[in-house]
Symmetry: C2
Subunit: 315 residues, 2 copies
Amino acid sequence: MINSPICGLLGIEHPIIQGGMAWVSDGTLAAAVSNGGGLGIISAMSADAGYLSRQVARARSLTDRPFGVNVMLMSPYAGEVARTVADMGVSVVTTGAGNPSKYMKMWIDSGVAVIPVVASVALARMMERSGASAVIAEGGESGGHVGDTSTLVLVPQVCDAVGIPVIAAGGIADGRGFAAVRALGACGVQIGTRFLVADECSIHDNYKDKIIKASDIATVVTGRRLGHAVRSLKTPFSRAYLKAEYDSALPDEDLEKLGVGALRLAAVEGDAEHGCFLAGQVAGMVKKRQRAADIISEIMAEAEVVIKGASEWAV
Amino acid sequence: MINSPICGLLGIEHPIIQGGMAWVSDGTLAAAVSNGGGLGIISAMSADAGYLSRQVARARSLTDRPFGVNVMLMSPYAGEVARTVADMGVSVVTTGAGNPSKYMKMWIDSGVAVIPVVASVALARMMERSGASAVIAEGGESGGHVGDTSTLVLVPQVCDAVGIPVIAAGGIADGRGFAAVRALGACGVQIGTRFLVADECSIHDNYKDKIIKASDIATVVTGRRLGHAVRSLKTPFSRAYLKAEYDSALPDEDLEKLGVGALRLAAVEGDAEHGCFLAGQVAGMVKKRQRAADIISEIMAEAEVVIKGASEWAV
């Protein structure tokens, strides 16, 4: 067993939090991760409060263990979804793609532990001051919305800057990565990409196949021109989008429109041509489909071996 | 003391290799690093063989310990410089910005240990087949010419792919980073950015000040449009260059010309307006000027503390 302050904080067995991924992290996957001893997360994505309520009910029908909700702050429904999290007594909320300050008081007053995802030291500091229970320091190698600074560089600087627990995200898929971020000062990890291929994950088979086949250089970042960078697999869609970004004759509004619906096409339809398959760089390390619980136990077992072996590095 | 196979291979005390940085890594800095127990590296940059000969002579006048040369493969003088490395009996060569296959036989026949810098699993495999003694797996958070894949993701995949020793580069500036990449399977580190502020480093004071003041989000990658991405500090130069990259009316040749001379302006003149200050993301973790030997001993001491403490993570 690996000791971590976030296990007690969140009421979980292993310090592994599942990433909140749009069109991926539903109540079924979240329950499977929580039943495996980690913290499952339902993504509220850009859907309304009704969707979230149904997913929370679904997860509660499948597990008695704690799970959380991820609120994507750029969602047009962020406000009503934030209220639903508080009203339904969800135990933990993680936030992505922005600054959740305006919802923090409501959540904390309702007893929800708030764990924002941060991509910079400045936001980590601000979140600590606003009452966050912990922060997830997410490196730019992760999938979906990304910052620039890598996990290896970001995590120690966030650990130096705040007194609350720091969870590392981005680039972690096995026990080696877990042990590495522990050396940097993190007390747990958030993992997204490896759970894409969990048996309990409902995405299209084509998506899972693409993750399993991905190499070490299989992803690309698009959206930098518009100021919201997103990492996905290299596909016809991402190549066309990247080319359009360098076409300065194309207005920003038209560029924006190119991405509409592409996440759903990937996750639901498995559309290899027009889908946007979000994935972290670590897709290259994901080699097999497994039950969510087996993913968790395999990572923890490997981490223990690496950590126990560390004493032999120094002689 | 931390045990590592590359110490015996290279005849060094500590498994720290200094990065080969154009306009930075001269004979004086290389000798200082080697005298501190690491492996100093002279950058042949884009200069001719005469420059390299003088720097090798300079280093030999300052140290009896082994040091190496970095050959930047995009240099117009790469061929003559490669020959000089073999002729002068330099013990180690590292290579950057490309595939050194065509020089490998000459170097190996001359007894030079070859350690290519690689940014992908495919190149690492090719280098092992060509006779490399080790590889430096360099993540995209490093400074200067960069690939995409981060150190945390690249290093374990390169370790899985090759049987020769793997040295990690990119994002490492302290003992925590050292311990982290050991957990990933690396047997040593290459460090560039922290040596920029070594007392024995001859760059302009303005450059050193910028590194010391850098935050966690202080760097940017330019050059992606032309296919050779370069990481540097955010400055008026890099902002203007990035803007020009998105101007599709600007021909590639004109974009290329914008960068000419900018490295020299930064390193030699300290020109805050027109200089290109190459730096890794880890600049945000570099907080003080020190002797090169003190940088090395501080990193190793901190790494030992982190590694010895690792056994307490598992309970």
